[in-house]
């Protein structure tokens, strides 16, 4: 069977070739035992773009075997940091070369605007790969003085081994880079399961892995349904580590499977909400630059059409500036154009799927029915495409579903507070702790509040902006471990201590 789909990019008429097989040992192949396909949908038009092979449990086995073989022979401890660095830089260059077409495929599959996919998602991904290319030849251990006359003790920071990586659909390329870059830099091999909603760019990137010259088996890509491929990876006895970004619910399952199988290292950061989810607070104090804060607040909930793990979806505004700020906020939110990703004017696209679309609307309906006040949005668009316009609720109360649950759409709840203590209490009143933001001109307040907020990332006088060299991750039920920065290296290395005796005689018997 031909493992390539020829797709026409509607806006340009250009035809692109997308591999649709499973990527194992640098080749695209059919499933070992299954005829299942995954239908890939364009969320702006609701049309099917193409279908790709749906990997089975046996395919995961084959991929793991390939990754294990590579780890033992051409990768792992058999490849120098310099070589890993060179290959990662090469990969970054290839992605840069193909950034326009990758952006178009990303937009077609995920809905986000082409220009944002190209300049932000892909731009950041290229930098991420280059950042970790720079670390690859700098993984050092320590020498430790124990007894200068008799022994040396030192640590090795060894690659963990075969890593299962499961990524979500909201930033397909960017999440791919965040996972692949540090794992490869440290010498691990990978079995990657992209989201079944957005598998296309992961497959195209696999082609570039082969082109860059990574040995076969170092990266393997198996699009598959979560309960099939994801579950298989998490309970696989020959996978040394699973890294997951997605919903807390699925995260629990993965951790359980890891515990029951081979106690593999499980690290997850939450992303998608299916039932419970993260709900990052965004606090506006009276001394804030209101105009700027309103810009950041909009970015915080509307960027990527609200489909962001750190979306600032609960906004708390100090009483004294509430009316003024709300007015600014609504005016600015109205300015966002949500439309087709290939339209230059679009600042946001549709939500990714029918299921997500229905979910977001059910929350909007619940907001109305539970008595929150709608000050913007709330009307469905006619016609095709899963478009949801910016929606703002005020007069919210703690127990409302729109305040408790993660919506993962462009829907904001706005509350008010009197004192700093109240704001902090409101902000922390969640089982999640991924992101948080605060706006204030009082440096002492900024330090106090950033210290009190229970979140893995706190933004002061901004929101949402990350850096490849700054760690990212969640507190509480938002996750375990940190991605990005030097901290990610710890996720993919295992410390071995070596005690080398050269002068101590063993006394026996005791």
């Amino acid at each position: 069977m031909d493992q390539t789909a020829r797709i026409t990019i509607p806006a340009t008429g250009q035809i692109v070739e997308i591999p649709t097989g499973l990527f194992i040992n640098n080749e695209f192949v059919s499933s070992v035992d299954s005829q299942e396909r995954i239908q890939v949908v364009n969320p702006a038009t609701e049309d099917i773009i193409c279908s790709v092979v749906a990997g089975s449990e046996k395919d995961i086995d084959a991929a793991v075997a390939a990754a294990r073989a590579a780890f033992s022979t051409t990768w792992g401890k058999n490849v120098t940091g310099f070589e890993r660095s060179r290959l990662l830089n090469k990969l970054a260059d290839l992605i840069e070369r193909d950034s326009q077409v990758l952006a178009e495929i990303e937009s077609l599959n995920n809905g986000k605007p082409v220009r944002i996919a190209r300049d932000f998602d892909i731009g950041d991904s290229i930098q991420c790969l280059r950042y970790y290319a720079g670390w690859a030849d700098k993984i050092v251990g320590q020498t430790i003085e124990v007894n200068n006359k008799t022994k040396i003790a030192f640590t090795r920071h060894e690659p963990i081994g075969v890593c299962g990586q499961i990524i979500p659909w909201n930033y397909p390329i960017n999440m791919w880079a965040w996972k692949v870059a540090p794992a490869l830099a440290c010498g691990c091999t990978i079995v990657m399961k992209p989201s079944e909603l957005t598998p296309l760019t992961a497959l195209v990137l696999s082609k570039l892995i082969a082109e860059a010259g990574f040995p076969p088996g170092v990266v393997n890509t198996i699009p598959s349904l979560g309960p099939v491929g994801g579950a298989a990876l998490s309970r696989h006895m020959d996978v040394d580590k699973v890294a997951f970004t997605g919903s807390t619910t699925t995260g629990r399952k993965i951790m359980e499977a890891a515990a029951k199988s081979n106690l593999k290292k499980a690290c997850h950061t939450r992303e998608v909400s299916l039932e419970l989810g993260g709900k990052s607070p965004h606090i506006i104090f009276e001394s804030a630059d209101l105009d700027q804060a309103a810009n950041w607040a909009c970015l915080g909930i509307l960027y990527n059409t609200g489909q962001d793990c750190t979306a600032g979806s609960r906004l708390y505004v100090q009483d004294t500036i509430y009316d003024k700020f709300l007015h600014l906020l609504v005016e600015k939110a109205k300015q966002l154009v949500i439309g087709d990703g290939f339209d230059e004017k679009s600042g946001g696209g549709p939500v990714v799927s029918k299921a997500q679309y229905d979910k977001v609307w059910s929350y909007i309906e619940s907001g109305k029915s539970q008595g929150a006040e709608l000050v913007l949005g709330g009307k469905k668009r006619p016609g095709k495409g899963y478009f949801v316009d910016p929606t703002i609720f005020t007069n919210v109360t703690r127990d409302m579903r729109i305040v408790q649950d993660e919506i993962f759409g462009p829907v904001l709840s706005v509350g008010r507070f009197k004192t700093e203590q109240e704001a902090i209490a409101l902000a922390n009143d969640t089982s999640y702790g991924l992101g948080a933001g605060l706006h204030s001109a009082d440096a002492s307040q900024c330090m106090r509040v950033s210290s009190a907020l229970e979140a893995g990332t706190v933004w002061v006088n901004q929101y949402n902006i990350l850096g490849n060299n700054v760690p990212f991750g969640g507190k509480k039920q938002s996750g375990i471990g940190r991605e990005l920065g030097s901290y990610a290296l710890e996720e993919y290395t295992e410390v071995k201590a070596v005690h080398w005796n050269f002068g101590e005689q063993a006394e026996w018997p005791l």
Binding site: G81, F82, R130, Y131, A133, G134, D137, K138, M447, N469
Partner: protein, 501 residues
Amino acid sequence: MPSVFTHEFNTPVYKGKISFDTGLFINGQFVDGSDGTTIDVVNPTDGKVITSVSEGTPKDVDLAVDAAEKAFETTWGLNCPGNKRGLLLNKLAALMEEHTDELAALEALDNGKTFNIARHGDVSAAIDCIRYFAGWADKISGRVMETSEEKFTYTRHEPIGVVGQIIPWNFPLVMFAWKIGPALATGNTVVLKPSEITPLTAIRMCHLAQEAGFPPGVLNVVTGYGSTVGSAISSHMRIHKVAFTGSTLVGRKIMEAAAKSNLKNVTLELGGKSPNIIFDDADLEQAVHWAMLGVFFNQGQCCIAGSRIFVQEGIYDEFLKRFTEKSRSIKVGDPFTPDTFQGPQVSKIQYERVMGYIESGKKEGAKVHIGGERHGSDGYYIQPTIFLDTNPDMRIVKEEIFGPVSVVIKFKDEEDVVRQANDTVYGLAAAVFTKDVKRAIATAHKLKAGTVWVNCYGLANPNTPFGGYKQSGIGREMGEYALANYTEVKAVNVNLGLKMM
């Protein structure tokens, strides 16, 4: 108008044409020196002039510092994010890779080392170094000490500003890379003086840096003499750091000048008289091979040359026999002939210096076992030389010769050899050959040297620090350690709530 150096290579190992401006590189442009004078570049295989390059003066150093300061305040320093600095360094490395053969040919022509070694050794090592430091550029982190509501205390590892760098003639391109790599990665701007004997690859690198897109003034290269340009750099009031690789003698002058001017931070990579210790149980064939490389590589012109070879009594005779045979088989000749291992010494002055040491060895009563004479009649070639029957007071045992001259010394036991090995004002490197890992580690730990090799010699890597104990230098280059040479730590103490009563 600076002159243009045009040269056609037509040799068994390289054929090609090169052509480039040989002016001073200041503020992104190639310019004449302020006095309009030039320096001849001499071919060490025949003593003839290859070309001439512009001669810099202290006034040109001022102009370079002006350009470097301006760049630091506007387009470089922390105004240019680390990942961008890294990107530019990687672009430079890619250009070096594209021009590998050309750079190797230039280096061989100018310095006398063989083309093959320049190509597979020097150029390759220089590229790796630039790439290694490109990777550090966006990873210069400080620390956070206190984050209470009263106080926020953190450190910044800031670039120093304009740094002066003075490099030697023995590995011109590699030394260039070792210096600019960490300096530019950390955000400093550079005023660099290559050796007046070997300026060509440094100048070619400026063309590549221009092509890579470094903003004007970030890298400035002023060719000139140590007593004028070098001195101007080390005593310049607006250069706050100087990094020097070269002789201990000149290193002292630089440190003095730094002290007398503005107490600029100084790192020095100086000379050595490194001991190579071969125990009875060494893998003899391997030890002979490494010992030969250790002392004769690069025409003996290595700061780390294993110039004092200590051989334990039990294997002395066998070692000497094999070492002699191996050394006799060294092919000395034209750098552009395929199987040449040893080229000429770099200059007439160096040639005369080394011959002077050989004479002193003979005069002081050491025995010439092989060599001891000029090789051929043209150029600055010297026969690989082995001296025996020396004593510790002889000049050839105490002083750095920097030529293809080795001293082989018999020793009894571990304690004896460690004492002899450490009995030197230097402390750059050392080596131990033995199959007994306990002895290897114990001895390595006792040697007072910045680098100790076990069962090998001379291996270096961009990720491993390099530098000397005692009079071999101050500071470490390479690895993460190099970053400390080019950053200044600022502690910021922000009072958020403490009130004075």
